[in-house]
Symmetry: C2
Amino acid sequence: MKIADITVQEFRYTSRIGRDSEGHAHPGNLDLTGSLVTVVTDDGAEGHCLGGSKEFVEQIVRPRIVGKDPFHREYIWQDLAERTRRWNMDDKGLAAVDMALWDLAGKVTGQPVYKLIGAYRDKVKAYASTMVGDDIEGGLNTPEAYANFAETCVARGYKAIKIHSFYPPKAGAPDPRLDADICRAVRERVGPDIALMLDPYHDYNREEALYLGRELEKLEFAWYEEPMNEYSIASYVWLTQRLDIPVLAPEVALGRHHTRAEWIERGACDMLRVGVGDVGGITPSLKVIALAECFRMSMDVHGPHPGNLHLLGSMRNAEFFERGLLHPHVDYETPAPYLNSIHDPIDSDGYVQMPQAPGLGYDFNFEYIRDNAV
Amino acid sequence: MKIADITVQEFRYTSRIGRDSEGHAHPGNLDLTGSLVTVVTDDGAEGHCLGGSKEFVEQIVRPRIVGKDPFHREYIWQDLAERTRRWNMDDKGLAAVDMALWDLAGKVTGQPVYKLIGAYRDKVKAYASTMVGDDIEGGLNTPEAYANFAETCVARGYKAIKIHSFYPPKAGAPDPRLDADICRAVRERVGPDIALMLDPYHDYNREEALYLGRELEKLEFAWYEEPMNEYSIASYVWLTQRLDIPVLAPEVALGRHHTRAEWIERGACDMLRVGVGDVGGITPSLKVIALAECFRMSMDVHGPHPGNLHLLGSMRNAEFFERGLLHPHVDYETPAPYLNSIHDPIDSDGYVQMPQAPGLGYDFNFEYIRDNAV
């Protein structure tokens, strides 16, 4: 079996989000261009993944992978990863190609991806991951509004909630005392049995980060995520040595699996983060997960991507699937127009079942994508 | 699909090796008991692996895995690995169960194991791995005898040779000067273009190990393997800091992937070792390989097990397949009586092709195994 072609189809759709001046998501209805990577083999098998850069695929990927065995994922990933140095392409384009190959492998073998990897579980607990704060009436505009929304999430079945607190450009943010107010309001409302986590503003100084960490310890939060600039690893060493609450990182630091090894060797975090979009796909994510497992570290998997759901189906050292971003005014349960169904429906106990369809388990509306092609 | 049963069939055969008082292999014809692990599913699929302990499978494994999904390899491995603490079972029994599940997954999906993992290559360079020295005429009894045998290996196509030198109980061993004599004789005979490696006696003191390492540097050896007791990690830190030649370890140190993480964190080796029999199967080996890759370390894969061959088919950070142990008087090319063919034939360029049959690629003579059942 050989790869016959790889293409990127761009299409228009209206999202349910808007973005503020710092790039954070809020309710809205942005007109966006999506993209779909498709790998086709000489015997007609196909693999797909959302995302992917047309330029990267056409200039770099296609000339290098056409004619290759699509099961040579490790070779293809290593080869493309080397190419991204000069081209300065981000890891998201690489991730989409890698995951299209995993999707293809699943379809050819009749297995969901997490079983190809080697399954650990068939369902995973989800946490409700909130959007960042806003000025919307009935939104996430006050500590009490967060508490109200947390109560709604618990009523839906969630056993865990991760708060994204007040970030710039919201007036008054960043302020660790305001973050603590939000966390306190939520803890008081949901009680002691719901796991709570915080992902606050990501550029506090050391003293602010320590103050907020101590507040979270009093509130018995489960982890504390990226409160400082990740390029100051020394600051994370400093913070991690002081706090009892697990410090979770890194997310945005580039350098894929190599960077995660540096953080562990430096002792810069208590829990390690991975995400298919952050490190370049499932193939390198498996390396990061193995790395953490070798050092017996717990993890969080960043974001609700189907690839991340399959990672969680195959790993022991993480407890939760990140579901969201959620907001009182956004309907997360209805599929985007280019999908027939969502990949991560939640049950009344707060669990998401692993997709059982072969491959990644995307349920594309190919007609929509074709009709809205750019 | 559920696991319906797991069994261990023991059988008698006559090997082509004997063992000295320290357990090292030499030419011989020992009568041995082999074992074959077989996993069967409720729909009749089967997976096999040689090795495996009847006691471990019947007392620990069977009650825990019957009824489980055979694709839940990660769960099963973690669950069984925890059970081995109290029972003090070795990792080889666990490895055989894990690899029978990988074999089954390959057969169900129609893929060789290295493609399930994600392939990096379809063939791999082999090194000729010699037996340890002996007192056999025309064997490996003098430095010149090693040189003669090395010449034979090069004539067969090998581009690399790993020497196991003189070990106790051979008279005069251990002696780093004798080891250096052997290495010098082989280097002079094969010339500069053949990669040479040394695996000497494994309990030299620091000064002996440093002396021998310096000799290997002059002879441009590719790596230097386990010259000291592996439970003295500090000795390896000491040696690795001094030598330029890559120090390769650990092999026998227990503790699976966790131990390998300790060695890296301590800076106790330059190249990292893994082997399916040493760390408990393919599942934990993949973690060790990922660990090394995260730290950009090269590796060697220990031994010619089919599981190791599949690892090499899926990884970038190792160059060679260990073929052997070889000896002038032992025919490695003829299959053992319980096999119809060997899994690792070498071509005239010194490469071994990846097995293309679904699963691990064992070619069992089931009739022989049945006829010689214990």
